[in-house]
């Protein structure tokens, strides 16, 4: 089907344009509404609103990273919250060191929780985190190394499908348990909070919040373009081949493990960056971020938006999280019913998500004569 790829890339590009346009609009309008519009005006966006939008954008980046491996390579990771949290912890360690002697105990060297837990000196893995550049490096290196080690073992032994999902879930679960321990040196169940400033700028001022928000939007846009470049490249086509028929791709001579490993590591790094952007804006990171349910929620954002489209994943993240904010503030009990129902309905009736719904309609109208694109190649077969 020579027309197929052409058609798909054309359609993708219109989606990309919409997505990048919306992102740019958010990055411009929200800061203006916060800084330029007086607080009394109904159009004013409060600091809380800024944080909320920033949070959504971080989640969109996380959803992007999950869609890259799930939508294009068929790797359903139920442990991406682990990479997200590790990135967050890396930047959190820098922010903790920045507090310095302004902490409750006034210790210039040790963060408050260490003084509280009777640490005599800084643990070895905390050294270097007083440098911003080092923290940035770690926010990329730590998730990447973990993803590499995990992926190397998992993909080499051809752990696929649900097995892989379960193991990734166990990974984030184990990390959650580990980070809950006080003697890990990461603040136990309280995690890190009470941050003061970043690179010398006060984290609580609106200007810094706006800067972070704009920066997040820029990173999200850049990551989106990078993902687009990857999936449009030759490697991206191999990834889709692996997704649809792994064995066939292997028999054609492609090194399936390597493709999977590198895309998994790249995705983990994206998730780490999302976490690192999330922590300074939200102002807290604790081990509950690792909890398996967070990872599964990310998958549902992607599924709601439409897997295998990238922009759909990001849109799904924004949509579901907006719904979450709405539900948990008005009828908190209903949120889990809504989320659970969403899981069921989307998997049953919307296998291609909202994007599939929209483009499916458009396609029907425009190209009634064109042979339908296979909606979803089913998994090879059931026993």
């Amino acid at each position: 089907m020579p027309n197929y790829t052409l058609w798909i890339s054309a359609r993708k590009d219109s989606g990309s344009a919409w997505f990048l346009g919306a992102l740019a609009a958010i990055a411009v309008i929200v800061p203006v509404l916060n800084l330029a519009v007086p607080a009394a005006s109904p159009f004013h966006v409060s600091a809380f609103g800024l944080t909320l939008v920033g949070k959504y954008l971080c989640y969109a980046l996380l959803a992007l990273s999950v869609d890259l491996i799930w939508g294009y390579c068929g790797i359903l990771s139920l442990g991406h919250a682990a990479f997200f949290s590790l990135g967050g912890y890396a930047i959190g360690m820098y922010l903790m060191r920045q507090i310095g002697s302004r902490g409750v105990y006034g210790n210039p060297e040790l963060p408050d929780f260490m003084v509280f837990l009777n640490y005599k000196s800084l643990p070895w893995f905390w050294h270097g985190f007083n440098h911003f550049a080092f923290a940035l490096l770690m926010m990329i290196v730590v998730p990447a190394v973990l993803a590499f080690a995990f992926g190397w073992f998992a993909f080499r032994s051809r752990v696929t499908g649900v097995y892989l999902s379960i193991i990734t879930q166990a990974l984030t679960y184990a990390l959650m348990l580990a980070f809950f321990r006080n003697d890990m040196g990461f603040g136990g169940n309280n995690g890190f909070t009470d941050f003061k400033d970043i690179l010398g700028f006060d984290l609580h001022s609106d200007k810094v919040r706006v800067t972070l928000l704009v920066f997040t939007a820029v990173v999200l846009g850049a990551s989106y373009l990078a993902c687009r470049a990857i999936v449009a490249s030759r490697a991206g086509r191999v990834m889709r081949a692996i997704r649809d028929a792994e064995s066939r791709a292997r028999f054609l001579g492609y090194r399936v493990e390597s493709f999977k490993l590198w895309i998994f590591v790249f995705s983990a790094v994206l998730a780490g960056i999302a976490g690192a952007l999330y922590v300074p804006q939200i102002g807290i990171i604790n081990p509950s971020e690792f909890s398996p349910i967070n990872s599964i929620e990310v998958v549902i954002w992607v599924a709601v938006g439409g897997r295998g489209t990238l922009y759909g994943a990001a849109a799904g993240a924004l949509l579901v999280n907006y719904a979450k904010t709405y539900f948990t503030s008005t009828i908190p009990e209903a949120w889990y019913y809504a989320l659970g129902t969403l899981f069921v309905l989307v998997t049953l009736f919307l296998p291609r998500g909202i994007v599939g719904l929209v483009t499916g309609r458009a396609r029907k109208r425009k190209t009634a004569t064109r042979p339908a694109v296979p909606a979803e190649t089913p998994e090879p077969s059931r026993k």
Partner: protein, 554 residues
């Protein structure tokens, strides 16, 4: 053989008669008048604590039939005197904080003697030292009880205070004792006392007796004699010291062995919970290729069913759990069939989507339970026959609830095995799981089998919930805390293999339990996870991989 039994029986009878005779003789010959008994009791009102001790000793030796009751009452803070006439009474029950009037019992006749307002009564107090004295004194009474268990308890109490009088009492008793357990206990206590003897051969003999003991206090004392405990010089006699050292070594070795046994048992009991959960998963995951993320919630439903059954039959606490087992099976199985019919059957062949959809179902079920029962912990009572511990020996004890859970798991496993291998339904389930198309061609209604299989797996989850309700509190998050572990078991054991689930679950439980003392619970879990990831390197399909045609499509 027969002869020795008969002679032992005869000796027993003779001893019993002798004892009975003795005690009756003592009662009648030495019994002072009730007046002097009352006078002694009366003295307790005003004298100092040291004097009370003398009076207690007097009362104990008086042999008055009511002395034991009076002393027990004193120990339990139930001995009072009436302010207006200074008469001493026992209370029928310990005084509640808010009681206004208390029921009295006559100290001599032990019959009800009306009641009196609280203001008119004064308690006869004790202190810690007196309570200890009272405990040993009362233990002497119990030492002649006809019930061997009571006598054993009495020996334990007397041991706490091995003074000359008590040692003498025990020596008298050991000759008359017929129960081997009580006798051994007394011998141990006497040997403990003998260790302090100035006579070296006596000490040696004592060590020879203690050699077989497993008790911690014996070990401590022997360590002191052996000079192995920190800073201690040990016994002056080198021979005694050497004997003690070898005894310490032997006791330590046995104790270590038994503590390994205990760890093993704990591991097995922990593992059997995992097995119970994992065999349910193994059926749905292995036979149907369906990942059921709501499995943990079906288990939670089982636990709540147990709770509801208990609430529904408050007067039958002992058997409510037996009713709960089939009830939980039914509830969970019906819910499972409902899930299968409404959600899963549309998603066959798409395992990742099934995983997500069932996760959604699990969220709904959790919230449903939270809405109905609130998020508070509900506790399910443990029936009496399941509580308590089975004391195998001094170094090894096993709690009954864990023991029953191990047995229960084996029963469920066996039942499931029989169903799958020996019944028509089981045959159909296996046929569909091996080759769906062929099974259908043979006339098996595969849709019906699917629903039934899912119901069976879910029902077992419900039954696992009954077991869990005995171990932890019942709350809406119950399922989540075990589900990841049990998925690990399934991955480790091999999909769809009951034996895999069994071996996998048990070994995960034991390994966790073995590592825990060294690494802590969390690190042990992490370690197990890492080992598992490495393990599937070499055996990607678990311990018992599917073989033959069915393995091709996985």
């Amino acid at each position: 053989m027969k002869k020795s039994v008969r002679s032992a029986g005869a000796r027993l009878l003779f001893l019993a008669l002798l004892l009975a005779g003795l005690s009756i003789a003592r009662l009648h010959a030495q019994s002072p008048s009730d007046a002097s008994f009352l006078a002694s009791l009366g003295q307790l009102r005003e004298v100092s604590f040291p004097d009370k001790e003398t009076i207690i000793a007097q009362l104990a030796q008086s042999g008055h039939p009511s002395a034991q009751s009076a002393l027990t009452a004193l120990l339990e803070d139930r001995l009072y005197f009436r302010n207006d006439d200074q008469m001493v009474f026992l209370l029928k029950a310990p005084a509640a904080d808010d009681a206004t009037s208390l029921t009295l019992v006559d100290p001599v006749t032990l019959k009800d003697a009306g009641s009196a307002p609280v203001e008119n009564l004064t308690k006869i107090g004790t202190n810690n030292h007196l309570r200890r004295v009272l405990q040993t004194t009362l233990a002497r009474f119990r030492l002649s009880s006809p019930d061997a268990a009571v006598r054993l308890g009495a020996v334990h109490d007397i041991e706490q205070n091995l003074d000359e009088g008590n040692v003498k009492l025990l020596r008298e008793r050991v000759a008359a004792e017929t129960d081997s357990k009580v006798k051994a206990e007394i011998s141990t206590s006497l040997a403990m006392a003998d260790l302090d003897s100035p006579d070296a051969p006596v000490r040696l003999a004592a060590i020879a007796v203690l050699h077989k003991s497993l008790r911690q206090d014996v070990l401590n004392k022997l360590s002191g004699v052996a000079g192995t405990s920190d800073g201690g010089e040990g016994d002056s006699d080198p021979q005694v010291r050497a004997a003690a050292q070898s005894a310490v070594k032997s006791i330590t070795r046995w104790r270590t062995m038994y503590s390994w046994c205990e760890t093993l048992f704990f591991g097995l009991s922990l593992g059997s919970v995992l097995v119970l959960i994992a065999i349910g998963l193994a059926i749905t995951f292995g036979v149907m290729g369906v990942i059921n993320m709501a499995h943990g919630e079906l288990m939670m439903l089982g636990a709540y069913t147990t709770y509801l059954v208990q609430v529904a039959m408050p007067n039958h606490g002992e058997i409510s759990i037996l009713v709960a087992i089939p009830a939980a099976f039914l509830v969970a199985a019906l819910m499972g069939i409902l899930i299968e019919r409404t959600v899963i059957r549309f998603l066959y062949g798409r395992p990742l989507e099934t995983l997500l959809a069932t996760f959604g179902v699990s969220l709904i079920l959790q919230q449903l339970v939270r809405s109905i029962f609130t998020a508070l912990n509900r506790s399910v009572n443990t029936p009496n026959w399941m509580s308590g511990t089975l004391q195998v020996n001094d170094a090894l004890s096993v709690t009954y609830n864990r023991l029953y859970i191990v047995i229960f798991t084996l029963l469920v496993f066996a039942a499931l095995f029989v169903v799958l291998k020996r019944t028509r339904v089981g045959l159909e389930i296996r046929a569909v799981s091996q080759n769906r198309a062929m099974a259908r061609a043979m006339g098996i209604r595969s849709e019906w089998v699917d629903a039934l299989t899912f119901g069976l797996g879910s029902g077992i989850a419900g039954v696992a919930g009954v077991a869990l309700s005995q171990l932890t509190n019942v709350n809406p998050n119950l399922g989540q805390s075990y589900i990841i572990d049990s998925f690990m078991v399934v991955v480790f054991g091999g999909v769809g293999n009951l034996w895999g689930a069994m071996v996998g679950g048990m070994s995960m439980g034991v390994v966790n339990q073995l590592l825990e003392p060294y690494a802590g619970a969390v690190l042990a879990k992490i370690f197990v996870l890492i080992v598992l990831i490495l393990f599937i390197q070499t055996r990607p399909r678990g311990l018992f991989p599917p073989t033959g045609r069915s393995s091709e499509n996985q």
